[in-house]
Symmetry: C2
Amino acid sequence: MLDQFERVGKAIGDPTRVRILKLLEPEELCVCQITAVLDLAPATVSKHLSLLREAGLLVQRKAGRWVYYRLAGHSPNPYAPAMLTLIRSILGEDDVIAADRRKLNKIKEIPVEALCAGTIPTDEPRLSLTPRIPEL
Amino acid sequence: MLDQFERVGKAIGDPTRVRILKLLEPEELCVCQITAVLDLAPATVSKHLSLLREAGLLVQRKAGRWVYYRLAGHSPNPYAPAMLTLIRSILGEDDVIAADRRKLNKIKEIPVEALCAGTIPTDEPRLSLTPRIPEL
DNA sequence: CATATATTTCGTCATATGACGAAATAACGA
DNA sequence: TCGTTATTTCGTCATATGACGAAATATATG
């Protein structure tokens, strides 16, 4: 059991991965959206997401070439839900987290074709087609 | 704020440090007691304790040559209390933690002079003076 | 003061980790 | 099939980390 907690513990021990968890609180996101917000190499983001998934904190869904991640509801790791609950209750006013969220809002305004072209998930509203590229 | 959570997150990301936190749940302990239970070099234990203290999870008290640590009540780190609460609620049935506790009970039977000679803190019962060395 | 003891700090080592670019894989469309 | 695209895996690098022994520090005693 301790090794299961170790997975969760190590997963949230990195600030980038905490940022990812906070980004995913409101809704599921595509890898390319997370990558754009964090401004890291896709390989790095993929590795972080993989670690979070192995710790039972994230769930993955594929839609064509696109891969979406969301916070885990039920989890094979018994310690993941409690830790996710804790993280939901904190950092609400943090500068870094707030900046990430503002950036995400802008990224979600980008024409899908310019960022992550593909089918819009049915449970999300259709994005604006304004052809402007925001500051990133 | 994220850097404060990072401290707590990294601190509990190591299983040895989680074992220390679980050992300290019932009561304050001396470094030499923790060292004996974990069976690690004193230098290693000291470093772990230092990290936990810097994260605001532990509080230190000196009594002569001896240094005692206990879980922090109030903490300069806003995230420490919630994390300690979470850790108190888990791993109660874990094999490693249970073995540590059994070992600690034996260590507390050792004549003080053989393990950590010195003044018995006034809020602890006087230990048995049976001159036997238990299996460690 | 010298000696003893408990703990902490320092230095070293083996291993882990977060970053990246390159390569591999998965999926799609012509 | 080939070309394109999104993501993942692999390999590399710089740095961090957990372990240890040695040295330094803090404390007590004669």
